[in-house]
Symmetry: C2
Subunit: 219 residues, 2 copies
């Protein structure tokens, strides 16, 4: 059984939990609250020197980082991982796009507006850039999804899971998807997939305090 | 034969040219000077809506973007692409790390310090962040390479090509690799690989003007 280090409210962590749910793969989740510095302890840095979640323990003492790499690992050999040379590369194309055009903008806006108390005031100037670049990324996605039901191969793959992670959080951080009808249809298609779980879904009762609404001062 | 849209002095473009050279794969290169806006023309945006190089035409009218996705495409089925589930995921882990921890810092510093005339004065404040985060990324790499000859699987793979792209440019933009002996040894190992070509290597004479030293005012 996989052991997943994850933060409930992180889009990157959610991608992996969503994939494991769609695959009906059992796992135990360890909550790591990055807002409380729990990904920067010596113990965690020994597991992942980058100090980030999600992190998957694939074997005793062997750890895999980077949400999109973890998706390929857990989905390997299933229909979620397209294996033809061109479709694999096209899925990767969207996943690298996600990490440099979507996550640093919508993900950053979500973090500061939705998770950090007072974050909007701290990031007034950066927010303008995030909105502009985030909308540009959404437009690229919209144009693609106008003629395609999913990002690659005509079916749900790891590319959709990666793109869904932060796109579905856009309306929690000022982005308005009203003018992106193809994206909204695609979000609904993903959500209607058998096995889908929303970000807030939890496999078990959270430990006391971990999901407390207050956010640590250092965040 | 592949058709590659590439910029000679771009680390991301060089990754693909290096892979094709190591694979001894023939291709024709079309120089796209992003400093002159050549990746933002309607003609180029029709090929790649993200407006970036490198871009590979894989079949008539079918284009693949994102340097690291292109690496997996051209290397598919060769020893450069590790195909076991865990080694593939570990290679991807480093390639996603490269795109969010290395390229946005060393790549950005290289762009503004080495390519854009007067860039240092325009980016004084950003440069501090790039240096701090770039050094943090280099330290993660150094620690890994202390015990590993290559990033994954004990041999040269697409992960090394991706990481080499900007790491080998670090000393052109203020980074000092003196305290990173494992990285320096690894750079030499990559350079001693049969078929290796440096970034400045050109398959044919450049078209007049394309490689002119002056940099457009809008850059």
């Amino acid at each position: 059984m996989y052991k997943l280090y994850s933060m409930q409210r992180s889009g990157n962590s959610y991608k992996v939990r969503l994939a494991l749910a769609l695959l009906n793969a059992p796992y135990s989740a360890i909550e790591v609250d990055i807002l409380r510095g729990e990904s920067r302890t010596p113990e965690f840095l020994a597991k992942n020197p980058s100090g980030q979640v999600p992190l998957l323990e694939v074997a005793e003492g062997r750890y895999l980082a980077e949400s999109n790499a973890i998706l390929w690992y857990v989905a390997g050999g299933t229909p979620l991982a397209p294996e033809s040379r061109i479709e694999r590369a096209e899925a990767l194309q969207w996943m690298f796009f996600e990490q440099h055009a979507l996550e640093p903008n919508i993900g950053a806006a979500y973090f500061w507006l939705a998770l950090v108390k007072g974050g909007r005031d701290l990031q007034t100037h950066a927010l303008e850039d995030w909105m502009e670049r985030g909308y540009a990324a959404l437009q690229v996605m919209e144009n693609h999804l106008k003629t395609q039901p999913y990002f690659v191969a005509g079916q749900l793959t790891v590319a959709d899971i990666a793109m869904y992670g932060y796109t579905h959080l856009a309306d929690r951080c000022d982005f308005d998807l009203a003018t992106f009808p193809a994206i909204r249809s695609w979000l609904r298609r993903v959500e209607q997939t058998s096995g889908f779980v929303p970000m807030d879904w939890q496999p078990e009762a959270p430990e006391a305090g971990v999901y407390a609404p207050g956010i640590a001062a250092e965040a």
